[in-house]
Symmetry: C2
Subunit: 316 residues, 2 copies
């Protein structure tokens, strides 16, 4: 049986939207999968009752502390030993859950990812990633989107490997096309890091490198399944996409594709390159976003991604 851990106290509207999202997710996940909610048991039970949900539809691990967005991530992670995030990571480490997701304090979730789940041997730096919808009805994986804001070329090269493994394993694409986000198509274009990364990526036989991609081309889906970049650039691309979605809404534009740029449909970014499945959602997550974060977590656990990455980096 798969057990998916969820931080019930994470996010601006927790625990309400988390419980609601979990109930929505129950209709979609495998009958063999079980949700484990970490948080205030009384509050969770009350919400379950409010929604007429059977009291045993999820497991609850009672915790008494919450790490907030305002807490110092590392300090709070260390000091709040009975926080939902800290206890969740302990369960993950002990194998009592198979994956862990939170729309809560991103910083503390990353501290747990690095210090509890730990980096896969051979991986220089883990990444956080995001799936972005493309015009052709599919999506591409963007990484890094903010964990490493000063990437060395060898880190970018590894992100090609990691992104390729994710796309193949979790999304089932064969020989995914990996591109390097750059400011020109030609190999000699770019800044110091992308120029050197282009050379390393061209020489790497571990994935299907298709060359540079410019930011105006990422949304078509014609060129790449994986787009590799520095965390500063990836975060900026993601935020600009969010900005476009918001301005389209403000302008009253009703378009099915732009609707899919709404991050609620993905619901979380996977932390890649660590020895566990960890997803982090947006603090503003709605119940729909939480539902999709949970489904994405289950899908990632079932894919065997972590084993695949451990194998890939065995020889590094």
């Amino acid at each position: 049986m798969l057990r998916i851990g969820i931080d019930a106290m994470g996010g601006d509207h927790a625990p309400r939207v988390v419980v609601e999202g979990a109930l929505m997710a129950l209709r979609h996940i495998d009958s063999g999968s079980r949700l484990v909610l970490f948080g205030d048991e009384g509050a969770i039970r009350k919400l379950l009752e409010e929604h007429d949900a059977p009291s045993d539809c999820v497991d609850i691990v009672h915790t008494t502390e919450i790490i907030t967005m305002d807490d110092h991530p590392a300090r709070a992670y260390n000091q709040k030993a009975d926080s939902s995030i800290r206890v969740g990571y302990r369960y993950l480490k002990e194998g009592k859950i198979d994956g862990f997701a939170s729309a809560g304090a991103t910083g503390a979730m990353l501290v747990g990812a690095m210090y509890s789940a730990e980096t896969i041997r051979g991986v220089i730096r883990p990444a956080i990633s995001a799936l972005v919808s493309t015009l052709d009805g599919g999506n591409f994986l963007l990484l890094d989107v903010g964990l490493n804001v000063d990437c060395k070329p060898d880190v970018l090269d590894q992100y090609g490997l990691i992104g390729s493994a994710y796309t193949e394993t979790v999304l089932g694409k064969t020989a995914p096309r990996v591109a390097l986000l750059n400011i020109g198509e030609e190999s000699e274009k770019g800044n110091l890091a992308t120029k050197a990364a282009h050379e390393l990526m061209s020489d790497n036989d571990g994935y299907n490198f298709v060359g540079n991609i410019e930011a105006n081309e990422i949304f078509t889906g014609r060129k790449a399944d994986v787009v590799v970049c520095d965390g500063f650039v990836g975060n900026t691309i993601l935020k600009q996409t969010e900005g476009f979605y918001e301005l389209a809404r403000m302008r009253g534009i009703d378009d099915e594709y732009i609707d899919r740029l709404n991050n609620e449909f993905v619901g979380g970014t996977a932390v890649l390159g660590i020895n566990a499945v960890v997803l982090i959602g947006h603090g503003r997550s709605s119940a729909l976003a939480v539902q999709n974060m949970i489904r994405q977590t289950e899908k990632t656990v079932k894919s065997g991604l972590v084993n695949k990455l451990q194998d890939t980096f065995r020889n590094f």
Copy 2:
């Protein structure tokens, strides 16, 4: 009398669209301004006749060579002594024209900007900039958009000064709000360069620094008139904006604001921090884009921006 130089041979559809854009611009520029076209006199005259334009409505400086997009910029600039770009820069240097614009070979235009017009004393690195429309009907200046793809913090700080001077002088805004593009609002967020730049910019009394801005906030116009970033990031933001405009067109979205994101309405990026007014247009420029590039050039010349910048950096 102001004299605005235009590279008639620059751009994918030159000289046709350049001549057409120049004729369109004639209806908008001051009666005291004169357009000077550099290029194949026979071809230009034929196009003027085709449009029933008086043969003396523009001045023509006949040149026999063209620097193409495929040429090596510096080599072509040095070797093609009778090219429209090279001769245009000579006229600019000799004071025979007051500004120079081209939708042609960007690289060669930049070589001319650096080696003929030269960097203003005190400026570490010139920048190229773009005006992007905002939801409130205005716009913001984004810089750098591709000239310096590895910016040191002191360069970013100077871009605050340069962008502020442009926005005040050319656009007539008082105490323009200058923001640093970053991946978080808090001062301690960012990569090595933006963290250090934030400190310098906070301490700089030469302009109105309003702190960090994230890419989802730049389009509203609520926070900043000038957005400062590294050339790699700025170029990526500009291309993503272009991509968004294109996808909206592909989706058949008809929206007045998104239409204004079309780069035709600005028509060129100003090279800032050199001792002359130089504008570079998109290779794919239409006649409308060329018209707007010419108008922008005239406006920049009339504003006295170069003197203002020379004054600003006198004490550096």
